[in-house]
């Protein structure tokens, strides 16, 4: 079978009991740095070496969003990531090996080669494989949240999306349905100010994505998306709101896409000074400075975290490269639960 093959993985620097501010900071750093390292290897190395084929979309500079939001989730919550949220998979316990194998189209990838790049999901870990069509998962997240309430649980869904995705009809249909149903959905926008080559002011005429919330009767707030603590606290508020039956809650995380839209895109349409400006707001460096200032970790400890991650990633890539390609004999499997006669 192509998918659902949980591989146990205990992140090295992320013991869940570390929920002091220092401990949480270390977990933030671990997941943000792991996402940066993994995506960096994919885009800057494996893609250029031709080992990763097809589209590569990374979230460099936006790591605080999936990490700050992701670490508020409970195991039974269901996550609907967008395409720049790799850390959510790690937080859900997806092994870096499975991620690299996914990008390389190997049998050991999360979808077993059925789909590529960040189009991966795992029912057992309650994280959805999005489809390419942007915002299509917003109604799905709404329905999943309605079902959680139907079953009498206090679980919630988290739906992630970019600023550009809020132009799609599905976004509006899904948000509106969630709102009238008071479905427990946390809506998290990464407003990185560009959608492919299109700047925000060509995407919408209101100033903020959060301005859209009140039109649906949904409380919405704007946070600094490069401040992982701010994202974490805002998401906590949103999750509490949703969990207590008050309906959806939207958070707009202001950030910047520090790369092109995808690996093939040099982003020459983005004014260079913006990259320089936002490089100074890098969420990882910012967290590290805070950790040092507050005495949560020393420089050497931080360096150790990075070194550990590099090793983990080296090992995961080696594993993935040794993972076999999927067997063409399996091509016809799993279109249906049971294969119909004549197909």
């Amino acid at each position: 079978m192509a998918a659902v093959r949980p591989m146990q993985w205990t992140p090295t620097a992320a013991a869940p009991e570390q929920d002091s501010e220092a401990g949480l900071s270390r977990r933030f750093l671990y997941y943000m740095a792991l996402m940066r390292e993994a995506e960096g290897r994919i885009q800057d190395k494996l893609y250029r070496q031709g080992k990763v084929l097809g589209g590569v979309y990374i979230g460099r500079g936006q790591e605080a969003i999936p990490v700050g939001a992701g670490l508020t989730t409970r195991p039974n919550d269901f996550l609907f990531p967008s395409h720049r949220d790799m850390a959510l998979y790690f937080i859900r316990g997806v092994h870096p090996r499975e991620v690299f194998a996914q990008y390389m189209g190997r049998a050991g990838g999360l979808t077993g080669g059925r789909d590529g790049n960040m189009h991966m999901g795992d029912m057992n870990r309650r994280i959805s494989a999005i489809i390419s069509a942007l915002a299509a998962w917003i109604p799905v997240a709404a329905g999943a949240a309605m079902a959680m309430r139907y079953l009498g649980t206090s679980d919630i869904t988290y739906a992630f999306f970019g600023d550009g995705s809020t132009s799609r009809g599905d976004w509006h249909e899904g948000v509106n349905l969630a709102a009238v149903q008071k479905a427990p959905v946390v809506l998290i926008c990464n407003n990185n100010q560009w959608a492919y080559s299109t700047p925000l002011d060509k995407q919408m005429a209101c100033a903020h994505v959060a301005d859209r919330g009140p039109a649906y009767g949904i409380p919405s707030e704007i946070v600094d998306g490069n401040d992982v603590w701010a994202v974490y606290h805002a998401t906590q508020r949103a999750a509490d709101h949703a969990r207590s039956g008050l309906g959806p809650y939207m958070i707009e995380c202001k950030t910047f896409r520090m790369t092109g839209h995808s690996a093939h895109d040099p982003a020459s349409y983005v004014p260079a000074h913006l990259f320089e400006e936002w490089a100074r707001k890098d969420p990882i460096e910012r967290l590290e400075r805070l950790m040092v200032e507050r005495g949560y970790a020393g420089r050497d400890e931080i360096d150790d975290i990075h070194a550990g991650i590099r090793q983990e990633v080296d090992e995961a890539i080696a594993w993935a490269e040794n993972s076999p390609y999927p067997d063409p004999e399996t091509l016809l499997d799993n279109v249906y639960e049971t294969r119909p006669a004549g197909t």
Partner: protein, 324 residues
């Protein structure tokens, strides 16, 4: 006296499944308080409550999407499109999301989308279409088009129990026109199995949906002329029950494929292809298709009558084939 209409049969099937499984629920526009545009879910709200009969905003994409999401969490949603024509607004959710989840990441999508389809009700271009072929072309979906009350009830029950996405096209013109006596005891009808609606030896008419009754009338007329016509009711248009179709054609050596959907790209082409690929040596005549012409469904009665395939058109074509 036959008592149960096609519409009531669907209602009974739905009702029984909701009684049987607390995880089955209905979602759609105007289905709760109003009981649905055609009243299929009349009385459901009162009996099952608003948790299980959910009125939504006018958002077909969100209805299908929400059904998919609820399916992920373990429910078995039955979504209603007010008219099959509006299913286009939820097309992406159906063909890109629902149809591909299992193949991509092993996530089953146990949803049913009910959609009143078909012409003959003066509905015009946007309330008369037969969109089954759009979906039969999408791997991962199952597409049902029941013609009888018995099958409508048995198939809606099977659809709800199925772990893959099922499109259930109800023919509007049959809702109140078709009446049958249904078994007292519970039954289901298997998905993917055609039925021999009428036995015969000289010619097979392979059809589904409302055209079953045109075929039936034609077969009666031809019987008076001494011809024995077999009618295969596909019931499920995908996955296609090739075996039953081929067995019938091997017996009769002549075949007409009849549907109300327009000709080009319709299910008929697929059926004909399979017959010529797999039963060519058994044929005594070309396999012909009878379908609506390649136009939108017109509104005005004379135009709509000219558009819809009829028993007379079938009989004429059959005579030609039988003397070929």
């Amino acid at each position: 006296m036959a008592t149960t209409t096609y519409l009531e049969a669907i209602r009974e099937g739905l009702w029984e499944e909701m009684e049987r499984d607390p995880n089955v629920f209905c979602i759609g526009e105007d289905i709760a308080v109003y009981g649905g545009a055609f009243k299929v879910t009349a009385g459901f709200l009162e009996h099952f409550g608003e948790k299980r009969v959910v009125d939504t905003p006018i958002s077909e994409s969100a209805i299908v999407g929400a059904a998919i999401g609820a399916g992920f969490i373990g429910l078995r949603p039955v979504a209603e499109m007010q008219f099959a024509d509006f299913i286009t607004c939820g097309f992406d959710q159906i063909v890109n999301f629902a149809a591909k989840c299992r193949y991509r990441w092993g996530a089953g999508v146990p949803i049913v989308i009910r959609a009143p389809s078909g012409g003959g009700v003066h509905g015009g271009p946007f309330h008369s279409q037969n969109p089954e072929a759009w979906f039969a072309h999408v791997p991962g979906l199952k597409v049902l088009c029941p013609a009888t009350a018995y099958d409508a009830k048995g198939l809606i029950k099977s659809a709800i129990r199925d772990n893959d996405p099922v499109l259930f096209f109800e023919h509007k013109a049959l809702y109140r026109r078709i009446k049958e006596d249904l078994p007292e005891q519970e039954y289901t009808v298997p998905i993917g199995k055609a039925a021999i609606y009428r036995d015969g030896t000289d010619l097979s008419i392979i059809t589904y949906g409302a055209m079953l009754y045109e075929a039936s009338q034609a077969a009666g007329d031809l019987a008076a002329e001494g011809y024995s016509v077999e009618i295969v009711d596909l019931r499920t248009v995908f996955p296609l029950d090739e075996e039953t179709v081929l067995a019938s054609v091997r017996k009769t050596a002549r075949a007409i494929v009849l549907h109300e959907d327009t000709l080009t790209g319709g299910i008929g082409g697929e059926v004909v292809a399979r017959i010529t690929e797999k039963a060519f040596e058994y044929l005594d005549a070309p396999v012909v298709r009878i379908a609506a012409p390649d136009t939108p469904v017109p509104y005005s009665s004379p135009l709509e009558q000219a558009f819809l395939p009829t028993a007379a058109k079938v009989t004429a074509k059959a005579r030609w084939l039988l003397q070929y």
